[in-house]
């Protein structure tokens, strides 16, 4: 289907199914039960899942395929957000032109930065992208204040022109973002017994965009162009010796992944029309690196998994506090309960980043392939136990 082989079609359908039925899947606990805090099926969080999913898919096209580790990808996300908000200010509150503009602008931005940065590879490339991103961040904070509104962040106001729309609604408030009249924030509540399932317009727009982005990334992975990028990763020198110039391929990959980041930024601004410079800071770039590695760089599904994993646990872990822990461990004897809570305390609530850091280190050390490799290993382990008699020895090809 769609020019994909059977395995990829299944993968695409699984991802599409998961995203479309996410309001059900992420909402397994009734609202009045004690476990309701583990529900993730509310619009704001679901939107973040898919938006960061898009960001990570794009990053993976660069890092997973070519091996070029960019530490400045958040700059494209920030540029995308700014252009989308400007579109809302100047043209109309329709999200479509805003998203298109943010993709184009961040693509151009990526073309310039990529053209310069890709003259070097390895750690120098990382430093160059980092330097460019930090430059954009500093400039957005200081000199470019007329465009970015500095520390306050770019926001919509009542006296924006909005040529094709209205500056203010009839009741004198700022109009909301919409897609041909369908408001992004409108949410339909489906209440089934104690469950409250929320279907949000904005989420479904993001979800559709993510499925399209995922499909595109499968096509890129399977195309001759994708093969070229893999060749860059495995041995760029050898590729050059065969008479191929690798520069156009890496540059194209860089621009594509920059456009993905811009798309994510545009969607982010469409869901919540403001943009701030902190989205461009290098910690934000680090976050997408974490997502991709955690999920599994170079795999199709890995970045999406990683983005979902980090955003989910960020949300859940930050919510758990000592009282919740005491509730969980109340079956233990008094002294032991306090001790267990004391041990876990640093890792929850505000300590979520500590957990994330440790988790990330463990993944890099033991599972370089991320969650996907972990899943495969578990799968192999089960398979291996079943037919351990049949395949005792497996010959490895000599390197």
């Amino acid at each position: 289907m769609f020019g994909l082989d059977k395995r990829d079609t299944t993968l695409l359908l699984i991802v599409a199914g998961l995203t479309i039925f996410a309001p059900f899947l992420l909402n397994p606990f009734p609202t009045d039960s004690g476990l309701a805090q583990f529900n993730a099926g509310y619009p704001d969080l679901m939107q973040r899942f898919v938006i960061f999913g898009i960001f990570a898919i794009g990053f993976n096209i660069l890092f997973g395929l070519t091996g070029y580790l960019s530490f400045g990808h958040a700059a494209f996300l920030g540029v995308g957000s700014y252009s989308a908000v400007w579109m809302f200010k100047l043209l109309s509150m329709n999200v479509l032109p805003a998203i298109i503009l943010s993709v184009i602008i961040s693509g151009l931005f990526a073309l310039v930065i990529g053209f310069i940065s890709l003259r070097r590879s390895g750690i120098y490339f990382s430093i160059l992208t980092l330097a460019f991103a930090q430059m954009s961040f500093s400039l957005a904070y200081s000199v470019l204040t007329p465009i970015t509104n500095g520390e306050t962040g770019l926001q919509l106001t009542l006296d924006d022109p909005r040529v094709l729309g209205v500056s203010a609604t009839a009741d004198g408030s700022i109009p909301v973002t919409n897609l041909f009249g369908m408001e992004m924030r409108s949410t339909y509540h489906l209440i089934v017994g104690p469950w409250d399932f929320q279907f949000n317009m904005g989420y479904y727009l993001c979800a559709l965009v993510m499925i399209a982005a995922f499909y595109l990334s499968i096509r890129i992975f399977r195309s001759p162009f994708g093969m070229m990028l893999r060749a860059v990763k495995s041995n760029q020198q050898r590729m050059n010796y065969t008479g191929l110039n690798s520069k156009p391929y890496t540059l194209a990959a860089f621009v594509i992944s920059g456009m993905y980041a811009g798309l994510a930024g545009g969607l982010m601004a469409s869901m919540d029309p403001l943009a701030g410079a902190e989205r461009m800071q290098w910690t934000a770039s680090g976050e997408v690196v974490l997502m991709t590695i955690l999920g599994g760089a170079g795999t199709l599904i890995g970045p999406v998994l990683g983005a979902g994993f980090i955003k989910y646990f960020e949300n859940i872990f930050s919510k758990i506090n000592d009282n919740v822990l005491h509730g969980w461990f109340s079956f233990l004897p008094d002294g032991l309960e306090d001790f267990v809570v004391f041990i876990i305390h640093p890792f929850i609530g505000k300590g979520w980043h500590l957990t994330l850091g440790i988790l990330f280190m463990l993944v890099v050390i033991y599972l370089p392939g991320g969650l996907v490799e972990g899943g495969q290993r578990i799968g192999n382990w089960f398979k291996g136990r079943k037919k351990s008699d049949a395949h005792q020895s497996k010959t490895n090809p000599a390197e």
Partner: protein
């Protein structure tokens, strides 16, 4: 002219911090071939050594002073630090006052130990892995160290003043008949940095140990074949590099109150410094540190900002980009070291 000299001085103290961190980074890269993203965290741990020592010295017990009363007529409680009661108020007070310089002695063993544990426990396993993996794992370690410090010390900056005698300003220009008012502690910091840099270079240049390490940097395998345990010496060098970063942090606390993310802020810049200086070149790292520090302070002068707005924010990155493109191996990089 005055303003010009003042800007050079202003740049030197920040440049000293860049140079010290970049020196440590280069030592690690040159010996072990590892790109250490956790080096900023080591700088931060050093700074928090000073904070800890100050807190230890100020541990105090409460006594009721029968002669004094507060405004409600209740007996006044007086806090006396233990150090003051042990050594007398004069000497004890001096110890508390000088806690930052004293923290140097406290920080050296801690930093060396931290360095050893890091190298033996984690980085050892990453020699054979690609540079990207090294960056990622040390990046993770930096997050962990940073969060641990945040957990114990909170998120707010902790003011750690310099000793009173070194806290004022001095008129440096008096000798040459000019007006150059400059904080004393920054001069101390610059001299301290020069001392440390000198010590590291002397150690590498004039001791047998240093000679072996230099040989190992040039060709690790051959030195190993000669029957020298080069791994152990490199581990010691890692400890020294950690101590250099830590000491830079200790002495920096009076200039900027330490907080948990100061390491990351410096790390990004120090990497840029290392790259500008040339990967693996020790003199290059020091030179680039000072040059970029001074350039940064020149760029924050008014005429520079009026010429190119925002130049003070981006000058370092701009220089790095130009250097990387024009002279790939940096100012003083050796030929063939990570030049691709």
């Amino acid at each position: 002219m005055d303003a010009f000299l003042l800007q050079i001085l202003n740049g030197l103290d920040k440049g000293s911090a860049y140079a010290l961190i970049a020196l440590g980074l280069t030592l690690i890269f040159g010996t072990l071939g590892v790109v250490n993203f956790a080096h900023g965290a080591l700088f931060m741990i050093g700074a928090f050594c000073a904070v800890t020592l100050q807190k230890i010295f100020s541990l105090s017990f409460e006594t009721v002073d029968p002669e004094k009363t507060d405004f409600l007529g209740n007996p006044l409680k007086v806090k006396t630090p233990y150090v003051e009661s042990w050594f007398g108020p004069e000497f004890g007070g001096a110890i508390i006052d000088w806690s930052v310089p004293l923290a140097i002695l406290f920080a050296i063993p801690i930093m060396v130990a931290v360095g050893f544990i890091m190298e033996r426990g984690l980085i050892k396993h990453f020699y054979k892995r690609p540079h990207a993996d090294q960056i990622l794992v040390t990046f993770g370690l930096a997050i962990v160290l940073q969060e641990v410090i945040k957990y114990f010390y909170g998120a707010n900056p902790i003011p750690t003043p310099a000793p009173d005698t070194l806290n004022g300003v001095a008129n440096l220009g008096a000798v040459i008949g000019m007006d150059l008012i400059y904080p004393v502690w920054r001069i101390v910091y610059f001299c301290f940095a020069c001392l440390i840099i000198g010590a590291v270079f002397a150690f590498l240049q004039f001791t047998t140990f240093g000679m072996v390490v230099r040989a190992g940097m040039a060709d690790r395998e051959t030195v190993g074949l000669l029957g020298i345990n080069i791994d152990r010496r490199f581990t010691i060098m890692f400890g020294i590099a950690a101590a250099v970063a830590g000491l830079a942090g200790v002495m920096y606390t009076p200039i900027n109150s330490p907080n948990y993310h100061m390491g990351m802020d410096f790390l990004v810049l120090s990497f840029v410094v290392v790259v500008v200086g040339g990967m693996g070149s020790l003199p290059g790292a020091v030179l680039a540190g000072f040059v970029l520090g001074v350039l940064e302070s020149f760029a924050s002068m008014e005429w520079a900002i009026s010429l190119i707005p925002g130049i003070n924010q981006i000058i370092i990155y701009l220089v790095a980009i130009i250097i990387l493109l024009v002279r790939p191996r940096g100012l003083m990089g050796r030929k063939g070291v990570m030049e691709d």
